[in-house]
């Protein structure tokens, strides 16, 4: 996917102005998810779970070469064809070969953020393959030609009304059709696609190195159908998704479900261990594509590597009061919200993702929600510090902060500033910083006297 992260401030402002319904839909949905998460966390010794999950992820990330080799070995033993893709182009080449070899005309696709990174849908379209997103939310945004706006709820920004209108235009359903009726229509279209597709594409929540097992979590059953009905299954797996042992799933499956949606476990968990064997039903061919796409470089980053612990649960998005105002689209890349703000600079480049680390008030709600304790606020500060060091910040900001420092370094200048704030008609509408502030909040009204003056007045009678 081409990143448009640079436009974040403009796009966020435009969305708030032009599509106020998005704010309403996203706020409602994220608050709902957030309440569920809090309830689900409270049922278990969550502090201990998070600590264990963090430690396990850190272990696997710090021995990634070992676990990747082990995973590859086990997958091959299970009859899976393993590929390595360093870049999206590598992944495209592999997928193109599969499409050509099997004469694929139709593909069904399970929800996967990694395939958004890789641009799988545009590639398939260019190869003349008709591709169906089979997660209901993904299907909706595919019909609209939009990217996902949330890691777990890709259509979180849509209201029921908008969906009713979309289905009315596409399928002639009544404008007041119930959600159940709409789901039935989608189900009918997708059933047909499941039965006729030659290729099923998925991501993976986890890949267990010890056994070569792919683990996929979902609530609708479409992942299971996408990975079991077509004769060929291709799974794209980020190299950071590894877990050492099969038993680790006992922690990570429920932890991810609780963090993401507040469920104790997702409705469906698929554990895939290779193609169908004699007498079994299932795909004849299973491919696992282990994707780097910037992850190795990020792992080598002494500060930012911790973002690779991410389970893609979306809990930080649900907890984030900034994300809540706009949803994910203005962020301009696959990963939005707090995790996007720290992951995107690592996967793209800081220059390309520049404003994203500023898309936060550093309120810390994301860290509180994160099931693997990624220190998002600290990482935001790190990326901001680097952005300044690399000269990416705008000239006005540099000038303003240099001036601020000069004033604050000198009590004399600070007092002059204090006098000016009261004595002079401040050009509040002229200075860009002040204008940005006063437009929404009215002019700044300082106290009649600053405290440092009141202090002197308080102390003088005592003869000090």
């Amino acid at each position: 996917m081409r990143a448009k992260a640079k436009l974040y401030p403009k796009e966020a402002a435009r969305l708030l102005r032009e599509k106020p319904g998005v704010r309403e839909a996203v706020t409602g949905a994220t608050l709902h998810f957030e309440r569920n998460r809090l309830r689900a966390y409270a049922e278990v010794p969550i502090a201990e779970w998070r600590e264990r999950a963090k430690a396990l992820k850190d272990h696997v990330l710090s021995h990634l070469d070992h676990y990747l080799e082990l995973a590859e070995k086990r997958l091959r033993e299970n009859g899976v064809q393993v590929h390595w893709a360093e870049t999206p182009e590598d992944a495209h080449r592999l997928l193109r070969a599969v499409v050509e070899r099997h004469g694929v005309k139709r593909a069904v696709k399970a929800k996967s953020m990694l395939t958004e990174e890789l641009g799988v849908n545009p590639l398939l379209a260019s190869l003349g393959v008709e591709v169906f997103e089979t997660d209901l939310g993904e299907y909706l945004i595919q019909l609209l030609g939009e990217p996902p706006s949330h890691i777990v709820g890709p259509a979180i920004h849509l209201s029921l009304k908008e969906i009713q209108k979309l289905f009315h235009e596409r399928f002639g359903t009544p404008l007041d059709a119930s959600p159940e009726a709409l789901a039935q229509v989608a189900r009918k279209v997708l059933r047909e696609a499941f039965l006729s597709a030659e290729l099923g594409i998925s991501g993976a929540n986890f890949l267990v190195a010890e056994t070569g097992t792919l683990a996929l979590m979902e609530n609708e059953g479409n992942i299971r159908l996408s990975t079991s009905l077509p004769k060929v299954h291709v799974a794209f797996v980020g190299i950071e998704k590894l877990l050492p042992r099969f038993q680790d799933l006992a922690l990570f499956l429920p932890l991810t479900a609780r963090a993401a949606t507040g469920q104790r476990l997702s409705t469906f968990v698929s554990l895939i261990q290779g193609p169908a064997r004699e007498g079994e039903e299932g795909p004849e061919e299973v491919h696992v594509v282990l994707v780097d796409h910037g992850r190795t470089a990020l792992l080598a980053d002494p500060e930012a590597w911790e973002t690779l612990r991410c389970l893609r649960c979306g809990a930080c998005l649900n907890a984030c009061p900034v994300y809540r105002q706009t949803g994910g689209h203005p962020y301009g890349y696959v990963y939005s919200g707090p995790i996007g703000a720290v992951l995107d600079p690592g996967l793209l480049s800081l220059e390309e993702a520049y404003p994203l680390p500023y898309a936060s008030t550093l309120c810390g709600a994301c860290l509180e929600a994160c099931p693997v304790k990624i220190p998002i606020p600290k990482l935001l500060l790190t990326w901001r510090h680097r952005a300044v060091a690399e000269g990416l910040s705008p000239a006005w900001e540099k000038a303003a902060l240099a001036a601020y420092r000069r004033v604050m370094e000198s009590p004399t200048l600070y007092r002059l500033f204090s006098k000016a704030l009261r004595g002079l008609p401040l050009p509040q509408d002229l200075l860009p910083l002040l204008r940005a502030w006063t437009e929404g909040r009215g002019p700044l009204k300082p106290s009649p006297k600053p405290f440092h003056q009141l202090w002197r007045e308080m102390e003088e009678p005592h003869g000090r």
């Binding site: 401030p9 900034v322 952005a387 929404g440 909040r441």
Partner: protein, 236 residues
């Protein structure tokens, strides 16, 4: 016990009376209060925006100015967190930064944790108060119960507020770098506000932002810093 008051630049300029209230209250509780006059700003705005080179000299000044104090007490969760949590990172090789971090307290936390005060008086009897949890006080310092306890013990009625623990959208430079998002966040806080007589918080920045937005939207609600209310609790 000698306490040096750090009044913070925002409180100095915009909530000066809260500083006076803090001095009066601390003295009434038997604490010797000093106000080192060379103080200005802790450097947080520059640090949070990534301009560490601009923040560092300010942090060093701050260490100098408060070197002698037994305790440094300030009416702001975010500035307190800057000193407690970020100075040690901003000033590696300065063990005094760790030392100052240990001696620095947000105002209500100092009253409860150090002075062991719970009940100041009953001056807030029957007053309906909405308390906004500043994010840094709440999540970086763990100051959640202290202000509520002090208000409640003084007879205040703390009104339940759905968004009490949500960020108000100030965020320092965030409010001018992303003004539309910042205002949308303030509007959510305001939209969920219950009936109250006063809106309070420990952070001047949040209050400045919320008070400005309330005024702009024509909502008539008194906004007062926590220190002002706590003095009222004591003095009646």
């Amino acid at each position: 016990m000698r306490v040096a008051l750090f009044i913070t630049c925002l409180a100095d300029q915009f909530f000066a009376e809260a500083g006076v209230a803090a001095v009066r209250l601390l003295r009434a509780l038997g604490v010797e209060v000093d106000f080192p006059e060379g103080q200005t700003c802790c450097g947080q705005p520059a640090f949070n925006a990534g301009h560490w080179e601009e923040a560092r000299p300010l942090a060093k000044r701050h260490l100098e100015i408060f070197r002698e104090a037994d305790y440094v007490v300030l009416p702001s969760g975010s500035c307190a967190s800057m000193v407690q949590n970020h100075y040690p990172e901003l000033l590696p090789g300065h063990p005094e930064a760790l030392d100052l971090a240990e001696r620095t307290y947000e105002f209500s936390a100092f009253l409860v944790r150090v002075l062991g005060v719970e009940k100041l008086g009953e001056g807030l009897r029957g007053k309906k108060i909405a308390y906004h949890h500043g994010c840094h006080a709440l999540r970086e310092l763990g100051v959640r119960e202290e202000p509520l306890l002090l208000l409640r013990e003084a007879g205040a009625e703390l009104v339940p507020w759905e968004a009490a623990e949500e960020c108000c959208g100030f965020g320092g430079l965030f409010s001018v770098k992303l003004p539309e998002v910042s205002l949308a966040m303030a509007d959510r806080k305001i939209a969920t506000l219950p009936q109250a007589e006063v809106l309070t918080s420990t952070d001047a920045g949040c209050l400045l932002h919320l008070a400005g937005r309330l005024a702009k939207k024509g909502v008539n609600l008194k906004v007062a810093p926590l220190a002002t209310l706590l003095w009222e609790a004591y003095a009646g």
